[in-house]
Amino acid sequence: MRLHEAAVFKWVVIVGAAGALVVAVTLLTRPLVGSLLGLAIVIAGCVYGYRWAAQKRREVGSKK
């Protein structure tokens, strides 16, 4: 397993897009709405990250 720059760059784009969305919603509405949206995005990101890590573990385990 290797960590490639391209994979991390993908996360810069994802976090950048999520940040831009939160900034836009906050400026258009109220900071509370932006905070809740940000929290929802962070939770969704954690669930996605957990599933991705579990899949990687299975892949590595099956190669052994």
């Binding site: 391209a6 991390v8 760059f9 810069v12 976090v15 939160v22 940000g38 590595v60």
Partner: protein, 208 residues
Amino acid sequence: MESATVAVGHDHADHHHGPPEANESSRIDRQTLGILLFIVSEVMLFGAFFASYFFLRVVVDPSSWPPEPFELPKAVAGMNTAILISSSFTIHYALESIRRGNRAGLKLGLVATWLLGATFLFIQINEYVHLGFSARDLGFGSIFYCLTGLHGAHVFVGLMLLSFATIRAFRGHFGPAEKDHLGVEVPGIYWHFVDIMWIVVYVTVYIL
């Protein structure tokens, strides 16, 4: 049988000099493990500062945030954010270039990344000069300078790493093979991490 084993062992000892080779995991290579552990430790460091920030903001609960009469330059910091994010694109371009054997693209990407990073740092310092409050002004001033200063220190370290990579690129180092451009790839991963952290810092401190 025993004499044969001794003979093989003796033969092996004749060919191996120096300390025994380091054990290497078959699951994850050393570079990946090193950068992963480093990034995880950095996330925890930033996490500690964010915990302080949210403690001051939520638990201490001032009537308004930022407290009167402090004001943060959202637009200037937004421009600075755009500059830093664009530097992630340029370092990605540099790495894609060297993967295809394009040395000119590598040099151009690295120089552009360095200049964008230096511009970000310059604007940040300029912002500090014109903010009108210091780290000694209430808990807000302290945590603002600590969080943005911690990130600024990371940008400075990233610029140092990029300087070495750029000098090496101009001296003809690096090649298209995966192991031949690790000296750009690892600073690139670090630079992306610094960018991601800034997006989080900007949204949390300046916008929310």
